[in-house]
Amino acid sequence: MMPAAVMNGLMYGSIYALVALGLTLIYGVLHIINFAHGALLMLALYAAFFLYSILGIDPYLGILIVVPGSFIFGYVLYRFMIGKLAHGKDQNILLITLGLSIVFENMAMLFFSADQRTVNLSYSFETVDLGFVLLSIPKLISFFASLVICFLLWMLMSMTDLGKAIRAVAKERQGARLVGIDVDKIFAATYGIGIACLGAAGCLLLPIFYVDPYTGNLFVIIAFTIVVLGGMGSIVGALIGGFIIGITESVGGLILGESLGQIGISVIFILILMFRPNGLFGGKT
Amino acid sequence: MALLLDVKSISKSFGGLKAVSDASLSVDEGKIVSLIGPNGAGKTTLFAIISGFLGADSGRVFLNNENITGMKPHRICDKGMVRTFQITQPFASLSTLENIMVGAYKNTSLKAKAKQKATEVAELVGMTHLLNTEANSLTVAGRKRLELARALATDPKLLLLDEVMAGLNPSEIDEIVNIIKIIRDSGVTIFLIEHVMKAVVNLSDYSYVLNDGVLIAHGTPKQIANDPLVIEAYLGQGAAKAMTKNTPTKAKASKTSKKGGKS
């Protein structure tokens, strides 16, 4: 059972990594803790769901629509709401993003009802036999897709002008301003990229999971645990942390049972914050 | 004269950088002692270690013959030593009175008594007219004074002042110098880090000079003003030699003209 659990953990872990990537990017550049991350993932899941149920677009193709859409949504959200309203104070941003998550969650409740939604694709139940474990096709697709997206993100950050500008702002805000970078726009763009990651994660997650208005809550702690485990602001950390947590969750569920298994994540979160708050790859706070 | 503060062989490194090397000094009760030196000399680091905000790699600190090395700052405050901060740390949204009361509360649990003490201390430092002003709204000079008043309200035996004059104009400096003298006269021993030479010369009974983490000289202000090592520390290598070519008075004048930012 163990190898299957580990594989399962890896599959989910790659998607968790994608979720955490957005969060760590937002923290690394904007230095804010985006409490709305879980709720925004939930919205992405719904977006993917409705693209499929109304327009018949396969979620994996839906990425092409959801990701840009998420970027724009995130950009606008930051530019005209979060950035403006927080007046720069750390605790304010936390509360504002908390407020946003409440609004999103309950709007979803209002408009989409509390029913759990899933998608059944034509290939949802097909599997690949690896010998020691059977892997469902969607899980496999999601796994590779998220790796590809992580790689694309890495390329964006290291090779494009935008990526360089973002890294400049992350390292030295004032200096970046001095060389003519529009820091406010970069902030919004970074936030947008972070949400775009959620858009992708949502499309990849929907076929192997479900969505209801409270799905976001499940992922908040997971995402934050990965980010502190990997180190706030570290992209490599988010990736590796994602896998570690995915496997922990899976193996934990195997050993401790379905309900108690979830506790592993909270415990890891607490222990990391207490004893190694910079995480595995985190530099300065 | 009793030895109030005795610092023995303190060393501290940050990574590969040795911030303080084997520094030893002492402060007699009732005196004003200053710690001077160029920027980056390690003065604030030493202060932080003495007042419990930073741990030393080696060495010990004695207050009134009691070993306070490694004690947490609030316990050191209980023992009678309190410090101010170079970059002022006011309780921003509280009034001047409320700020000082926090210090006063150390020795009483009654609000009325704390208020009374705070009012008295405020008068001593000349802040009576600012009692109801929000700390945020104070000028730099006001905040420095508040920092001083707050610390004073704890009735310390030893007051550590970290560059209390930085950012003040000459007349403000004169005022603070007077206040410090009054505080000393009321029985409080004072140990201060300072850049402003005029103040150092005016106030100190004794001075220690720190450069690159090492104590290079100590003595009365007059003694260290003429110490070639000290002159070199401030003005660069060879300056002392260059100076001896000139008259002694010129050397003194050059020394007091050095003002600085952070240590």
């Binding site: 969650e105 409740m109 908040v220 607490i270 | 209980d78 409320e98 210090g103």
Partner: protein, 308 residues
């Protein structure tokens, strides 16, 4: 003072149970908000997991009653103790290791979540099924036949919470908490044992939360992990306080009144459970953005009390 007399006399005039019930809930939420206020408003440490004290206290007194027959009037003290102990543990784990600001908020969330999972998985809490409580009205059981009894109980609780806040405002401990909120290092330098003060504050919050748990269980007669450790309650605690005014004596009460009135109005407009919460979310955002001192801060500003 006059308001208090009014509040005491009110149930004699109003026979309508519905209104008494609404007021009971308002007082209850204000009480919980005040507990959050002690740590969040006065000491400046924002917690997102306040419900953990509530849930633990609720389970404590409920299990003592349903399994061991100990009446809730005694059980509530155990609940208070349980809440305080949870506060001690969480406080020590967080503050001893230097967690502040957002990190502290998140770790409290993690602790609450942890407790929920445990409650869901163990036998003696009834697991996911939960515990049903009997309705046997008596003072010993902290249960009442009519709404009036619960009304007075919640009134008493909120009055006690207000007295605690008033005590903070004029005591040394309160001044120390406020100093910690404003500047921890300076507070430490001035002789305040920051760690001990923070832990004490969270223990008070915990004890208060524990009692609230007992009250809830005895009134609503059912307890399960999602109820006992619901994030919504954690949010509501901080919301009423922030809206009313953090670090003020009457902030939580004012905030509770306003939010519940908004809820009732919203319920009349649209028959939907989610709407009032959407409004809550918006209110939180707007208050943080434009009125960070809450409604009480607004009044003070208008009446010119805060002179600059």
């Amino acid at each position: 003072m006059g308001l208090l007399v009014l509040a005491i006399v009110l149930p004699l005039a109003i026979q309508n149970n519905f209104y008494l019930d609404v007021l009971t809930i308002i007082f209850f939420t204000a009480y919980l908000g005040q507990s959050w206020n002690i740590l969040g408003g006065y000491a400046g440490q924002f917690s997102f997991g306040g419900v953990m004290f509530f849930g633990t206290g609720a389970y404590a007194s409920t299990i003592l009653w349903t399994t061991y027959g100990i009446p809730p009037i005694y059980g509530v003290f155990v609940a208070i103790l349980a809440g305080a102990i949870v506060g001690l543990i969480v406080g020590y784990a967080s503050f001893r290791y230097g967690l502040r600001g957002s990190y502290f908020a998140l770790i409290t969330l993690a602790f609450a979540e942890m407790l929920r999972i445990i409650a869901n998985s163990v036998e003696f809490t009834g697991g996911g099924v939960g515990i049903f409580l009997n309705f046997e009205p008596s003072i010993m059981n902290l249960q009442f036949i009519n709404a009036r009894g619960f009304y007075y109980l919640s009134l008493g609780m909120v009055v006690i919470s207000i007295i605690i806040a008033m005590w903070l405002e004029r005591s040394r401990f309160g001044a120390q908490l406020i100093a910690i909120r404003e500047n921890e290092d300076a507070a430490e330098a001035l002789g305040i044992n920051v760690l001990r003060s923070k832990i004490l504050a969270i223990m008070i919050m915990g004890g208060m939360g524990g009692a609230a748990g007992t009250f809830y269980a005895q009134k609503y007669l059912y307890l399960d992990p999602p109820i006992a450790y619901s994030i919504a309650l954690s949010v509501e605690m901080l919301l009423v306080t922030i809206v009313g005014g953090m670090g003020t004596v009457f902030g939580p009460l004012v905030g509770s009144f306003v939010l519940h009135i908004v809820t009732e109005v919203a319920k009349h407009l649209i028959e939907s459970p989610g709407l009032s919460l959407i409004v809550y979310g918006f209110i939180l955002i707007l208050i943080i953005a434009y009125l960070p001192n809450g409604l009480i801060g607004l009044f003070k500003g208008l009446s010119g009390k805060r002179g600059k």
